[in-house]
């Protein structure tokens, strides 16, 4: 059963080959036996899930067609609010916090009859690319448990790769869905900014964050995206007009499509195996009818600085509310407000969070605002404009997701700048608000998965999904 895709499982459920509860119990069993090795789950919601499974089974038995993924188990990254289920962002600062409301996406999953099994480990507050910084310890890569699963949605990718759950929700602020997919050999979609409601997503960087699906293949992910996307009256930045609809297409032809290859992405600083695999994937797309064209990606050296200035600035403000008074960890070591604040926060946040909050405070502080924050907003405009003009010419761009495959746990943890460099191919997509799909395309010499991404213009998910599905079909 763990080999089944989400849609195959859903078909098996609706055709009564397997019961919802039976499937769910099998997944729970797998989590209980396997996850000790990977540490991908932070909490399980077994009782509520079983109750829900029985309810869904009844409705299916009564002939109700709830959704294409009804009865399918799903796990949720721990920065997405789940009513009555502890939601910690893998941070001590939020330990014990039980939301009193659901994120909009969680409501949508429940309406679609999906079963939430638990919450997934991640980098603390989604700030990182290795899922090592959570206060419950690092996520381990199912392909090699001495290596990282990538991040920040490392728990989501590892849980899927280990067969503990067929689908998961991740979030992507600077590559946090795509890079763990690449490291764990799973598939994911970073939707256009404003395609999926952020209501209930505990913000890292509000103008960059998006929730997206992660799974075994693009068809599953697209189906999940059609469920979670759509406007939301609680999120004014969710500007999509209606949920995505992904047409079933019998044609595997990409005739007429022009795919850009940013050739400077393949020079220096990239593992040879990654380069070879991604370019081979491009050739597969060419065989399916697409035309490949090389170009020089502008502004490459400014992408990471721009991203870190903006993301940390927003984070420093977003994380200010965690003061110990209203929710989460609080110090037992103060009876005076100012000390209570400082101690609660300093005890609750890990090192990377402190670094980013202080960097964010710095770039926003008087005297430095213009040189850093304002400058970054202008650079962001240039990057966005550059993409706009590229997409006048190209239907999509093919790019590596990360310059390397999964590295060893602890290898980069004390060198933040080196860690940040791993985001070179992903952050500009978030700065420009664009969609991208991340797909596996091979293995390196250590049998570690490699991924690539297809990037498109805003709200071009259907085109990206068509191309990506074609790739996955001809590659199987």
């Amino acid at each position: 059963m763990f080999e089944l895709t989400a849609l195959e499982l859903s078909t098996a459920i609706s055709s009564k080959q397997i019961g919802v509860e039976e499937a769910l119990s099998a997944y729970f069993k797998s989590i209980e036996t396997e996850d000790g090795k990977y540490n991908s789950f932070l909490s399980l919601s077994k009782e509520a899930a079983l109750t829900k499974a029985r309810e869904i089974q009844k409705r299916i038995d009564a002939g109700e067609r709830i959704s294409p993924l009804a009865g399918v188990p799903i796990a949720i990254k721990d920065n997405i609010s789940t009513k009555d289920i502890e939601t910690t962002c893998a941070s001590k600062a939020l330990s014990g916090y039980v939301p009193v409301y659901n994120a909009t996406v969680v409501d949508k999953l429940e309406e679609a009859g999906m079963i939430v099994v638990g919450k997934l480990n991640m980098d603390e507050f989604a700030m990182g690319g290795s899922s090592e910084t959570g206060y419950m310890g690092p996520v381990r890569n199912p392909w090699d448990s001495y290596r990282v699963a990538g991040g920040s949605s490392g728990g989501s990718a590892a849980a899927i790769a280990a067969g503990m759950v067929p689908l998961a929700l991740g979030t992507d602020t600077g590559g946090s869905i795509r890079q763990p997919c690449s490291f764990c050999g799973t598939t994911g979609i970073k939707p256009t900014y404003g395609a999926v409601s952020r209501y209930g997503l505990i913000a890292y960087a509000s103008s960059l964050d998006q929730i997206g699906p992660m799974g075994k293949n693009l068809e599953d992910c697209a189906t999940l995206l059609s469920i979670i996307s759509g406007p939301d009256e609680k999120d004014g930045t969710c500007i999509i007009e209606k949920p995505f609809e992904f047409e079933q297409s019998d044609s595997n032809s990409l005739d007429g499509m022009i795919i850009g290859i940013p050739k400077n992405y393949y020079e220096g600083g990239i593992d040879n195996s990654v380069k070879t695999s991604v370019l081979a994937a491009a050739r597969k797309l060419e065989e399916a009818g697409a035309r490949l064209e090389e170009f020089e990606m502008p502004l490459m050296e400014y992408m990471i600085p721009t991203y870190y200035v903006i993301a940390c600035a927003e984070a420093s403000s977003n994380l200010s509310r965690f003061d110990g008074l209203k929710y989460g960890h609080y110090t037992s070591d103060s009876d005076e407000l100012s000390d209570f604040y400082r101690n609660s926060r300093s005890e609750g946040f890990g090192m990377e969070i402190k670094r980013r909050i202080m960097l964010g405070s710095f770039v926003l502080s008087s005297g430095y605002y213009d040189a850093y924050y304002k400058k970054a907003l202008q650079a962001r405009r240039l990057i966005k404009d550059a993409y706009d003009s590229l997409f006048q010419r190209y239907d999509m761009i093919i790019s590596p997701v990360a310059p390397t495959t999964a590295y060893k746990i602890g290898e980069n943890i004390d060198d933040p700048l080196k860690m940040y460099m791993g985001d070179i191919y992903t952050v500009s997509i978030n700065l420009a608000g664009l969609p991208a799909v991340s797909l596996p395309c091979g293995f390196d010499e250590n049998k570690l998965p490699i991924g690539f991404q297809l990037i498109g213009k805003a709200f071009s998910e259907p085109t990206l999904v068509k191309a990506g599905k074609t790739y996955q079909l001809i590659n199987n």
Binding site: S81, T87, A103, Y199, I202, D235, E314, S317
Partner: protein, 479 residues
């Protein structure tokens, strides 16, 4: 004025709570006085993951205020975050506007005793209010109530154009009147729905501006006036002695009539404003702006002109009738129902305002049946009742909402329109006062007045004077 050398320079920062139904960024009720933390949801209490959604009416009210204060309305406006830690601010940032406020560059004319002056409005911006803290002295702790978090505010910032407390009060009176007529703020200073902070500095005339202080906790116009006088004197004393004024925030204590410097918070000034990423920039649609312009309520000064021009009301009365919106509403309703604007004005100014002040009722709380007043106007102008009965009946309507017609009938206050009754009375009076009758007949006109008085007395004052005169004249001739 004692300060011949020093000039006072004042600018105002005014916070007006908007009287919308719901809060600025969530659907919680915007009502005053609820039980603590009962008008609260994940959004206004800053729970992780909650997002703001702008209440469109807040934007509309901001535009209305901007238009009334002659501001330029931005075609694109953006919210910013103002970051600081305080327990009354659950998100640890206030959503406000710094870089692109909705209204800028306006002005308002004020009139003091002998001159007219223009006060510049630097900007008007939208923001959310903070919660309420209660210092629990017994337990040495602070209690936090988030009901007020997210109540919509307009912050109105003037240029430092004022030179005296009189000018400040004149401005605030017009501003309050404007906000009330726009019906966007109830302006109850005692409930904090209108809050005024005063920035004041002193300088020698012609020299550059001095160091300013900011004064808070000013809960009435009177307190503002006193605080300005106090602060001017305090600063002048310092400057005269060759000292330096410290830039600080001071808290006015109206009970003892002094202000005290508040301890300045460390780093209080570095708010790290940046564009609020959770709210997209707002584009003001031209059609919508046009709609708002055309549906702008008539403001007090516009009403005054109309009353003078089309109702022939005196400028003085027009001013009185527009000091409070409720009064002008009553006046307009009564004029249109009775068709008698001048008598309506007389009734309101002469009677209603007197009754309000006698009973200690606020004009805000005035509620009176217009059609009952209209009936009384009709009665008095057509001679069915006399002025004394009219006044008595108005008071009865004001205090007990009586039906004026049955009130007058039950008490027998209606004028007697029956000629034969007057005739009978005249006969009796002439019979009882033969001397006066002969005096009259011998040419002593004064005697007639006496006889009229006697007849009216007999009729208990309800005789129609015309009919009484006529009856007496006829009876005397027959005598």
């Amino acid at each position: 004025m004692s300060n011949t050398t020093f000039e006072t320079v004042i600018g105002l920062e005014i916070h007006a709570e908007l009287s919308t139904r719901s809060k600025i960024f969530c659907g919680c009720s915007n009502s005053f006085g609820a039980m603590p933390n009962t008008n609260v949801c994940p959004i206004c209490s800053g729970m992780p993951g909650a997002l703001p959604m702008l209440n469109r009416t807040v934007l509309e009210y901001a535009i209305r205020a901007g238009l009334a204060l002659n501001c330029e309305i931005a075609d694109r406006t953006v919210f910013d975050r103002k970051n600081y830690f305080y327990p009354d601010l659950p998100k640890a940032y206030q959503i406000s506007q710094l870089y692109s406020p909705i209204c800028t560059n306006g002005f308002m004319e004020i009139e003091t005793n002998d001159y007219i002056k223009t006060i510049g409005i630097r900007e008007i911006h939208m923001e959310e209010d903070a919660g309420k803290l209660i210092h629990d002295i017994a337990n040495d702790s602070t209690l936090m109530d988030f009901n007020r978090c997210g109540v919509p505010l307009l912050e109105i910032v003037t240029n430092p154009d004022f030179n005296s407390s009189d000018e400040v009060i004149a401005f605030l009176e017009i501003l309050r009147e404007t906000l009330l007529y726009l019906d966007i703020c109830d302006c109850k200073m005692e409930e904090g729905s209108l809050r005024v902070d005063v920035n004041l500095s002193m300088h020698l005339h012609g020299s550059e501006l001095g160091t300013r202080t900011e004064m808070k906790n000013l809960n009435s116009f009177k307190a503002i006036s006193r605080a300005i006088e106090f602060e001017s004197a305090r600063q002048q004393k310092i400057l005269m002695a060759g000292g330096v004024v410290t830039q600080e925030t001071r808290r006015w204590n109206d009970n003892i009539g002094i202000s005290v410097a508040m301890r300045s918070k460390e780093n209080a000034q570095d708010y790290r404003y940046f564009p609020e990423p959770d709210l997209l920039p707002i584009f003001i649609d031209e059609h919508w702006l046009e709609e708002i312009k055309t549906s702008q309520p008539e403001l007090a000064h516009e009403k005054r002109i109309r009353y003078i021009d089309s109702y022939a009301i005196s400028p003085n009365d027009a001013a009185i009738l527009t000091t409070h919106m409720n009064i002008s509403i009553l006046f307009e309703a009564l004029s249109s129902q009775s068709g008698e604007p001048i008598e309506s004005a007389r009734l309101i100014i002469g009677e209603i305002l007197r009754l309000l002040s006698q009973s200690g009722t606020q004009a805000d709380d005035l509620s009176i049946d217009v059609s009952k007043l209209s009936t009384l106007i009709d009665y008095v102008l057509s001679g069915k009742i006399n002025r004394n009965v009219y006044k008595e009946a108005i008071e009865a309507v004001f205090t007990s909402d009586v039906d004026p017609v049955s009130y007058i009938e039950d008490k027998g206050l209606m004028m007697l329109d029956d000629y034969s009754t007057c005739q009978e009375a005249a006969k009796v009076v002439i019979a009882n006062n033969p001397d006066a009758a002969s005096d009259y007949l011998s040419g002593k006109d004064k005697a007639f007045g006496f006889l009229v008085g006697q007849t009216m007395q007999l009729l208990k004052g309800k005789g129609n004077p015309e009919l009484v005169r006529k009856a007496l004249e006829e009876e005397l001739l027959l005598h």
